[in-house]
Each structure stands twice: as C-alpha cells, then as structure tokens.
Subunit: 157 residues, 4 copies
C-alpha cells in the first residue's frame, strides 16, 4: 500500500547520529515546515509544524556529512507510528517520517568560509576554522556526484 511523505523544511538541530551494536547507523533530526496564511481578520499568521525524521544506513551517513542545523532540506519517506512506555509507565505515541531519500537545498555558496550554515552574531558553533570534519565532508560530498537517486532506480531508464 502507498505511504509517502514529502517535506521541505529547515533542520532545528544538527542530525544526531548513532552507531548501533549491530553496525547499523541511524540519524535523527527534526525539520520545521512553515505555512503562512491570512486569518479571518486579514492578518498574516504563521504556523510551524515540527516533523521527526529518521534515516538509516547510507542515508544516515550522508545526512551526517551534509546536513546541519538551519539548512533547508527536501525529504521523502513514509509515515510510521510507534507506541512505547515512558519512565512513569504511561503509553506514549511517536510519529516519525522514515526517509528513503533526501536532498540538501542549501546552495553551495552558503556557509563558505564558515563552519555553520547560517553565520550570525550569536554563533553557537564553538570550534571553528579549518579542521571541522563536518565542513570538509560537506564540501567533498557536494562535489561528488550525488548517488541519492540510486534508491529508486540506479539505471538511467
């Protein structure tokens, strides 16, 4: 059955990447989608939805290298729901978009000469300068051909 989600939004934080015991890699982060609309009185209102994104394996590796807090990103995936118990024994429900494709929408120019995506006065990135591996992998990865379409089809027809 068909279950597809398509989102374009901005990362609220850097992806959180974990290596599991069995060798699997998983990346998690949230993205915000914003919608502007006029209310009854004609005023512009803004509405933000935060979506939890999960990526596995090579997608997770690529997310770790390419995505940073604040960046705009295109995400495709499916809608999944899990129930679990919190520490108080309450049943909780979590909804996540498990991605099968993503594409950074940051222009290559963004972040040049800087290790954060959106440089600002209250820059919260502690380290700096040259040897930031995330910046390096970001650059290198955006120079290599993007193999991301391989998910749906790896032959050109």
């Amino acid at each position: 059955m068909v279950n597809r989600v398509i989102l374009i939004g901005n990362l609220g934080r850097d992806p959180e990447v974990r290596r599991l015991e069995n060798g699997a890699v998983v990346a998690k982060f949230s993205i915000a989608t914003n919608e502007n609309y006029r209310d009854k009185s004609g005023e512009w209102q803004s509405l933000t939805e935060w979506h939890d994104i999960v990526m596995w394996r090579s997608l997770a590796e690529r997310a770790e290298g390419q995505l940073k807090k604040g960046m705009p990103v295109y995400v495709e995936g499916k809608l999944t729901h899990r129930t679990w118990e919190d520490q108080d024994g309450n049943k909780r429900k979590t909804t996540e978009v498990v991605a099968n494709y993503f594409r950074s929408l940051a222009s290559r120019r963004d972040g040049e000469g800087n290790n954060s995506y959106f440089p600002s006065a209250d820059d919260e990135y502690p380290g700096g300068g040259f040897s930031s591996s995330s910046v390096e992998s970001d650059n290198s990865s955006s120079e290599a051909p993007v193999s991301s379409d391989a998910a749906d089809d790896d032959l050109p027809f």
Copy 2:
C-alpha cells in the same frame, strides 16, 4: 514550505462526522497501510500502520457519503501535530493527516445490493435493505462527475 502526504489504505471504521457550533463539518477516521517484506530468515512479514485522517467542510461531507469501513481510499494531505493534556494532566501528542483531497478506490460493483462495503457473516450494519441513505449517496455520488479535483484547480489547464 512543502508538506505533503499521500496514502492508499483501508478505513478501519466508518468516518465519524461532527457538525461544530460554528457550522463547520469535520470527519475523522483511520486508515491502515500494509507493507509486506521478507525478514532476514526469508519469511514474509506484514506491517500495518494506522494513520489518523481529518477532513473539513465539503471533503468531510463527501467522506460521510462515500466512505465506509473497509473501503480502500486514496488520501492526500499534510502532516500536522498537536499537543494536548489528557485527564491525568499528562502532555500527549497527536499526529493527524489533514486531507485536502481523497478518492474512493472501491469499484462501483462493490457493495451492490448491500449496505456494507464488505458483506460478511458477522455483518455489523444494523439497518439494511433499500432505504439506507449511505448506500444511496454512495451510488449517486459515483455516478455524478467527481468534483474532487477542484481542490487544486478548477479550470482544465
């Protein structure tokens, strides 16, 4: 920003329709999407996700007339999240797909001469026979042109 969900699944129950004080109409129901996959040992496994669907206004009216428990349906909408407090004061989160389009995938033949979509021994539909308004509206609605594409564009170009 882009926020799109596309689902094809089956209704778990008849839509629950409410008329609000302000005249608005809202329909709610869940649909199940099923996925089959082979696990590591090569066994076929089945995975079901239940998605909460919300429809407003004319969509809700049309859902009330056309959709019934068990029916396959195509739904397009956007992913929304709400937080609320349950009776114990615990913060709960709800995720819903707010639809902007749907289309029944039941063939016209289904349900003919019967007021339930999937007739069965343990038929739970109390009334029966001819004068069921839901059957009537279902039939008539599938004979009339479907105005549902009007949502995205109501001119043919």
Copy 3:
C-alpha cells in the same frame, strides 16, 4: 534532483511486453486520467489525458501478470523525454513515465469467473473460460504478498 510522477488511471489496453536480446523485459501501456470540471456556463466537462507508461524488469513481469485493459492502477515513476526520427526524417518527441512502482486498484472480486477485467457484451477477449493463464496469474499474484514496496525500502523501518 527530484522527478516524481504519481498517476491513478485506467489502462487503455493490455500491457505490451517485450523480451529484449539482452534478456531485459519491458512492458508498455497507456493509462487515462480523467478530470471533471465545470465550464464557465456551469456545464460539467470531462477531460482525458493519456499517459505512456514504461516498466522494466520485475515491474514489467508483474505488470504482465496483474494488469489488463480497463483496470484502474496506481503508478509512480519519473518523467522522461526522448527525441527520435520517424520514417519521414521528422524529429519527433516522446514523453514517457518510467515507473518504479505500481499497484493494481482492481478489487479482487472484479473479473471473478471471467477472464476480462470488465466483462461486457462486446467482449474482445478471444479465449475464454477457465484455463486462461492471465486470469490465473492475476488471481495468484493478488494472494501472494506484494513485494512491490521493495523498490524504496526492503526493511520495515
């Protein structure tokens, strides 16, 4: 870059399946999408678009077994364009949707006891009766788990 097409329509003919010299299998067919709208004078008008669909490999094999003229089908793919020369040396352009997923929307009940999808007085299916292999494969295929989601992800997370 993102290139996605999603269609729900009916097959104009049975899929045309070819086995190429190199062993590849390809299936081609057209599907019609219909749109109803009100024109300026308030009259209901109907608009039909015919889309050329191409499927390769296991999709093509599955199409051959499951899809028949008239059936409703959900198709996902990408938009491709080719130019070629006709016999008069004129440059011609062809646009095709190369599918990476499809799902028959015919209910299992449809076509029961009949080897055509829409039985009718002017039935054009020559053979008949029981041993039609297309009917058999159609039935059996709808009983087996659909592996079609394997395209985007073959693990249940």
Copy 4:
C-alpha cells in the same frame, strides 16, 4: 483521477510571460532535472531531462517576479499532453507540466548585489547594478509572506 508531478530542477531561461487578450497571464519555461548514476563499467554518468512548465494567473505573476534563469525551483503540477500541427501540416505532440504550486529554492543570499542569479565571468545580463526591476521584485517578494500554500488550502487546518 490522480495526476501529480513533483520536480526540483533549474530554469534553463527566464520565464517567458504573456498577457492574453482575455486578461489571462501565462508563464512558460523549462527546468532541467539531473540524475547521476554509475554505468556498467562503474563510470559516473549524468542524465538531464528538460521539462516544459506552464503557469497561469497568479502563479505566472509570481514566477515572473521570483524566478530567473539558473535558479533551482520546486514545482508541483499535473501532466498534460496536447497535439497540434506544425507549419508543414505534421501532427506534433507536446507534453507540459501545468503547475499548481511552485517554490523558489534559491537562498535569499544568492544574487545579492547582482541582477543575475548566478553571477559569472561570461555574465550575459546586459544591464547591471541597482535599478534592475527583476532584482527588486525578487527581493520584495521574498520578504512578504509566501501565499503559495493558498493553492491547496488557505486555512491552517
């Protein structure tokens, strides 16, 4: 019936905008989607598809103000096909994506202090500097709330 196209690509030229006698506005342009894949010998290959996009009314006006040659853009629409006769009386077929939504993916920083989207040595934009109206409308439009979601729903639920 469902007929959806989703594309992310780059404009090959500035949109071509026409005002028709009846007051309607239409914008046309092509966007390229690129796909990279490894061929059998392991070499990276690149494949480009050019898609013809058509926008009407307010979408066309917004395209005129916001989109320029080279820009990345997200486009949603439907697949349409037209046949016509060229000057030699040959029947020709044209496929177009009629958009019902678009969103520029250019970052606001791009093109600052410049009247072209991608400044380059062989810059083909003749005028320059400050008073370029296209830059002005581009800037102003990106500061105003984007009303683009109004197409599918203009209320926040």
